[in-house]
């Protein structure tokens, strides 16, 4: 009796194992470790958006705090809806079109409303839903970053329509070029233009678009002769802290795995943020005699922005260098801004644009050996730092040109239909009351 039981068991095992192996070859099995980390990362990147809302909200005047925070929150609504309708399809569908517009964008009608990926597991072992939602968070934060450039003077309606169109026409194609498997920047050179987590797609495109928008819309009334102080730096510091925390999802999540490359990205993210913050503190200490709190968080952001494209390829030494370098160059860029007098209100270009450019270009000098060896093998012999520098520079120039020119066209055309800039009355009364009918800092006055 016992023997028959055992042999039956054995028989069933022998029969079952090959069947599951054949099944496994057809459909990728869920890698629970990677999926768990990607779920966490997706939530972490979402956390950056309220973080950004607090960061920006604390930097504007009391009358604009809600309006400014709403810029980030509105992006969560608008961009998510657009992303599931057509954004994911445009960014990660296969190339469409031929000729000069070939590959401008992707399209896969299966991705509309994500209907085709209901049961899809990617080859990396994570459900495609998770990948799609992870990427959605990047599509949210990018236009939200732009809002910093024209804070305190934009109409809410104009802003909402602008980011919707900007997301469709600027973000989705850029995302496709850099991250989709058949995107042309993804395949540039030996192993593609390096943009691990969004230096070009997110930070350069947002920074440059912000600069163009700030110049097009003009400065705030009374800028720069009237001092405009931040309403609440405490909130800015909390927001900056949340951004740092969320950035682990942003960078380490971009490895789309839960393993070595996630660990590498996580480590350099921490190091670059710290190096950036420290360098900013040192510069301010020497230049102004005081290390400010706002300076410290600015340094954190500069370091994080610079390491974003580089997180997959540099080691700790490179992260220290990139973080410190980003702070130095961003600091100079903001000094230059103050001299030139244009009103990039919360330094969307000064930190994200400039930091992104520094990261995407300078990462070339700190790429780890193994990556270069792989690239040389793909290129068929040799692949030098100079070769990669050319690829990086080309990707940066393309991102700057596309985002800059595209944004200008969108603004000019949209402004014919909707006034993007706030009315003088709204700007004077404050965005909170004028566009939202509420007050941010109610407790200041008894009521």
């Amino acid at each position: 009796m016992k023997i028959t039981q055992r042999s039956l068991l054995l028989l069933s095992i022998i029969l079952v194992i090959p069947v599951t192996e054949i099944l496994a070859a057809d459909t990728p099995v869920i890698d629970t470790g990677a999926t768990a980390w990607m779920l966490t990362s997706t939530a972490l990147v979402l956390l950056m958006i309220p973080g950004l809302a607090m960061f920006y909200g604390g930097l504007v005047r009391t009358k604009n705090v809600l309006g400014t925070m709403m810029h980030s929150f509105a992006a969560m609504g608008i961009m998510t809806v657009l992303w599931v309708i057509c954004g994911y399809s445009m960014a990660f569908g296969p190339n469409i079109g031929t000729g000069i517009l070939g590959g401008w964008s992707g399209w896969n009608s299966d991705f509309v409303l994500l209907s085709g990926i209901d049961e899809v597991i990617t080859s990396g072992g994570i459900p495609e839903y998770v990948f799609s939602m992870f990427q959605a968070k990047f599509a949210i934060i990018t236009p939200a970053l732009i809002a910093g450039a024209f804070a305190e003077r934009v109409s809410f309606k104009g802003y909402c329509i602008f980011i919707g169109i900007w997301g469709l026409l600027i973000y989705n194609p850029l995302c496709h070029w850099v991250w989709a498997g058949d995107g042309f920047l993804f395949n540039l050179g030996a192993k593609g233009a390096i943009d691990f987590a969004g230096g070009t797609v997110v930070h350069i495109s947002a920074g440059v678009s912000g600069l163009v928008a700030a110049l097009y819309l003009g400065g705030r009334k009374s800028h720069p002769h009237l001092n405009m102080r931040p309403s609440n730096l405490v909130m800015t510091l909390i927001g900056g802290g949340l951004l740092w925390v969320g950035w682990f999802g942003f960078n380490a999540g971009s490895s789309l795995s839960s393993g070595l490359s996630a660990a590498q990205a996580l480590t350099v993210t921490q190091v670059a943020a710290a190096a950036g913050a420290m360098m900013w503190m040192i510069i301010e200490g020497f230049h102004q005699g005081k290390a400010t709190a706002l300076g410290f968080v600015s340094g954190i952001l500069a370091g994080l922005v610079a390491i974003t494209p580089a997180a997959g390829v540099v080691q700790v030494g490179g992260a220290l260098a990139l973080g410190a370098l980003a702070s130095i160059i961003c600091y100079l860029a903001i000094m230059l801004k103050n001299k030139l007098g244009y009103d990039d209100t919360l330094d969307a270009f000064g930190i994200h644009g400039v930091g992104g450019i520094v990261g995407a270009i300078c990462l070339t000098f700190f790429i780890r050996e193994s990556w270069m060896t792989d690239a040389a093998a793909v290129a068929g012999g040799s692949w030098t730092i100079l070769d990669q520098l050319g690829v990086q520079a080309l990707a940066v120039v393309i991102a700057i040109a596309y985002a800059g020119i595209g944004t200008l066209i969108i603004l000019v055309v949209l402004n014919k239909f909707v006034k993007i800039r706030s009315s003088a009355e709204g700007e004077m009364k404050g965005l909170d009351h004028y566009y939202h009918g509420e007050r941010g800092y109610g407790m200041i006055n008894p009521n």
Binding site: K63, S222, L226, A424, E425, M428, K429, G430, H433, H436, G437, E438, R439, I444, N445, P446, N447
Partner: protein
């Protein structure tokens, strides 16, 4: 010497200050106050319209010598007219005689201390 106290809309502080500085009046005390005049400002919270019975205003205090009274009042008047929309609640200016002014650091008194 006169003490000029103006209660203005909080949104108009910037433009009033600019006008005052242009009129040569830069010494000023500003405070947040709440008050109730005839003004009704509507705020909306989850669809519920709320009309606060005390609305936030700005109170400006300026001590001036006689020959500065008119420029100061004119500056406040013209600045609060701009972008106002003619709604109630623009505020008021109170002018009262000022008996004495003493500068703490030097002990100067009277017109020189203003």
């Amino acid at each position: 010497m006169k003490l000029i106290i103006a209660i203005i809309r909080e949104t108009q502080l910037d433009q009033v200050r600019e006008a005052l500085i242009q009129a040569g009046v830069s010494r000023i005390t500003v405070s947040h106050v709440s008050g109730h005049g005839r003004q009704q400002t509507e705020e909306i919270y989850r669809g519920q319209k709320v009309i606060p019975n005390l609305v936030p205003n700005i109170r400006i205090e300026i001590a001036v010598n006689e020959d500065f009274v008119k420029p100061t009042v004119d500056a406040i008047l013209s600045a609060t007219k701009a972008n106002d929309g003619g709604m109630v609640g623009s505020g008021k200016i109170f002018i009262s005689p000022l008996e004495e002014v003493i500068r703490l650091r030097t002990g100067e008194r009277g017109s020189d201390a203003i």
